[in-house]
């Protein structure tokens, strides 16, 4: 896949996640749009995972701690061939496995997530196991900035550096907003880089919508031998749709028919510029 194709893929994934949120009349729109570029780079440039051999013990692990942005994950997995995209027609419907959070019933999903502050501790366990077995695969998690106040994350931050888990990569979708307001208003986590470095992590900051920057950070590493890796990806909630960007109500808003058409036309225009 060329760099241009990768950029086109981001637009395609945005269109698709909006399509299925629109059809299901439910979804975490703003957060899915903020993290979809990260998922695109992970699944198309970084992760060693195969749809037809997903349980291979040597695969890279990706556990989405911010499980509510499952729409971005589902469209990315479908595009990579983990399941037919048509499965997503059942999103959030009675008896569908494609529910509002990741579940292992779906090929390509590592863990059932959704309650916040759970992804990182599981990744610490996976990373310790990989070290014990002298395996070279890597462990990735995607955290939301709104879930940082969960104490379990800080327990895991301690243990990751205690065990020198440089095979662990935590990516923060730092869109700076959560359901009630800005992170700063709700629970201030400022000086995050200092906090994480004080906890023994090696930290990099990237533009979370710049695919090349993401790829460079995610495929470099460990940043420092013996330290877990943290990538603060600066993102925009609702990225790519003008009327959604940084607008709080799109945390889990569903577009009207007119809004949906407008969103698609904006994405078409973005596509034409690539």
């Amino acid at each position: 896949m060329t760099d241009k194709d990768l950029k086109l893929k981001s637009v395609f994934l945005r269109k698709n996640l909006l399509k299925y949120i629109y059809k299901a009349k439910a979804g975490h729109t703003g957060g899915s749009l903020s993290c979809v570029d990260i998922l695109n780079v992970l699944y198309n440039r970084v992760l060693n995972v195969k749809p037809n051999d997903f349980k291979n013990p040597d695969r890279d692990r990706y556990i989405q701690s911010k499980g509510h942005c499952v729409e971005a994950l589902f469209v990315t997995l479908a595009d990579r061939g983990f399941f037919p995209e048509s499965d997503l027609e059942t999103l959030c419907q009675y008896r569908s496995h494609y529910i509002g959070h990741p579940t292992k019933k779906v090929n390509g999903v590592e863990q059932n997530t959704g309650a916040l502050g759970h992804g990182l501790p599981i990744c610490v366990g996976e990373a310790i196991a990989a070290k014990l077995d002298k395996k070279t695969h890597r462990i990735f998690t995607l955290l939301g900035d709104g879930e940082l106040p969960e104490g379990s994350n800080w327990e895991a931050f301690l243990s990751a550096s205690h065990y020198k888990l440089d095979n662990l990569y935590a990516i923060l979708d730092n869109n700076k907003q959560q359901i009630t307001g800005s992170n700063q208003e709700v629970m201030n986590t400022d000086s995050l880089r200092d906090k994480l470095e004080a906890f023994g992590w090696s930290v990099r900051e990237v533009d979370g919508h710049n695919l090349a920057e993401l790829e460079e950070a995610l495929n470099t590493g460990p940043f420092e031998v013996g330290k877990p890796n943290f990538i603060i990806a600066h993102t925009i909630k609702g990225k790519g749709i003008s009327y959604m960007e940084r607008v709080l109500k799109w945390h889990h808003g569903v577009p009207s028919p007119e809004q949906y058409d407008l969103a698609l036309s904006e994405l078409d225009a973005a596509e034409a510029l690539i």
């Binding site: 863990q111 997530t113 759970h118 501790p121 599981i122 610490v124 366990g125 990373a127 104490g151 243990s159």
Partner: protein, 322 residues
């Protein structure tokens, strides 16, 4: 305290179940390097100091951080490790309940959760350190086996079986020295109650450290009233041994349940729920901790206060047999 001591002399004395747990795990870890123990500054109370010294590569310490304990254990189990996560039962099943529900049970990571110093083992340390809720909360979570061994034999068997199990399980151990309850019945499987004393006039269903006072009460019933009480160690609360309960319902004799747990949501209610929905007509009584501020004292004193004792069970049996 005299009350805490074993006063019968006709049963062979053993060790504390949690010591047997640690010894059994050690014997397994020698040959199976995929066994990993995760502790939250709990290796001392879990009798795992020798384990840590012998197998430093097979023990992961997370510090006093129970949520992380269970999350990390889920990750290790997901990666194929036979993972035992050990913490005092009170903290393990309350502080980390969401991790148990989501990361272990719902995500189907076959962690062996081990609650030590369970029930009111910590005695006068008080309610913060008691686990009288664990049966209730774990019974309400899908995909987790709940096992409370009564004696050293059951403990060893439970640990051996748990190591092979590809499903989440909760094992609950106390720290009191336990006698071997039956030399005749040496069968143990999850989900099958173990009859440690035969009898057809009345049945006492108990688990964990309450099986012994149940056994004592049955002995007293025989000596005092010539009543033959069956004593069942219902070590597995979930899945419950419904075949055995069906037999008890058919016999129609009084049933007493005894547990080191709140009456709310515990062993007794689990049995009652099954029996009476099946139309059982047995007289039935649950002995456990009532819904009140738990009395203070040693484990033995708390047991005696709430009738979790030979005399308490005997008195209830006498009342039911009238």
């Amino acid at each position: 305290m005299e009350l805490d001591k074993i006063i019968e002399t006709d049963l062979k004395m053993g060790s504390a179940n949690q010591e047997v747990f640690a010894d059994t795990l050690e014997s397994l870890a020698v040959i199976d390097k995929s066994i990993i123990v995760v502790t939250s500054d709990s290796r001392g109370s879990g009798k795992l100091v020798p384990f840590g010294q012998k197998f430093p590569e097979q023990i992961v310490e997370v510090g006093i951080a129970e949520q992380n304990l269970v999350g990390v254990a889920a990750g290790l189990a997901s990666a194929g490790k036979k993972t035992f996560a050990i913490s005092p039962a009170c903290f393990l099943t309350a502080r980390a309940l969401e991790q148990i529900k989501n990361d272990v049970a719902y995500s189907d990571n076959p962690v062996k959760l081990v609650g030590i110093s369970a029930g009111v083992s910590y005695g006068a340390l008080g309610t913060t350190h008691h686990s009288l809720h664990d049966f209730a909360v774990l019974r309400a979570i899908n995909n987790i086996i709940i096992v409370v061994p009564a004696d050293n034999f059951e403990t060893e068997q439970a640990v051996l079986l748990a190591a092979k199990l590809d499903q989440p399980i909760y094992l609950r151990f106390g720290k009191k020295l336990m006698p071997f309850l039956s030399e005749e019945n040496q069968e143990f499987e999850f989900g099958k109650g173990r009859i440690v004393r035969e009898g057809n006039d009345l049945t006492i269903i108990a688990n964990g450290e309450t099986v012994y006072p149940a056994w004592q009460a049955a002995k007293a019933l025989e000596e005092k009233h010539d009543v033959a009480a069956k004593v069942v160690s219902m070590h597995t609360i979930k899945p419950l041994d419904t075949a055995l309960l069906d037999e008890l319902a058919a016999e129609g004799k009084p049933i007493i349940t005894v547990e080191e747990h709140m009456v709310n949501g515990g062993l007794g209610e689990a049995c009652a729920s099954y029996l009476f929905q099946k139309g059982a007509r047995n007289r039935f009584h649950i002995i456990g901790i009532p819904d009140e501020y738990t009395v203070t004292g040693s484990q033995g004193e708390i047991f005696k206060h709430y009738g979790i004792s030979r005399d308490g069970i005997l008195a209830k049996a006498e009342a039911l047999l009238k």
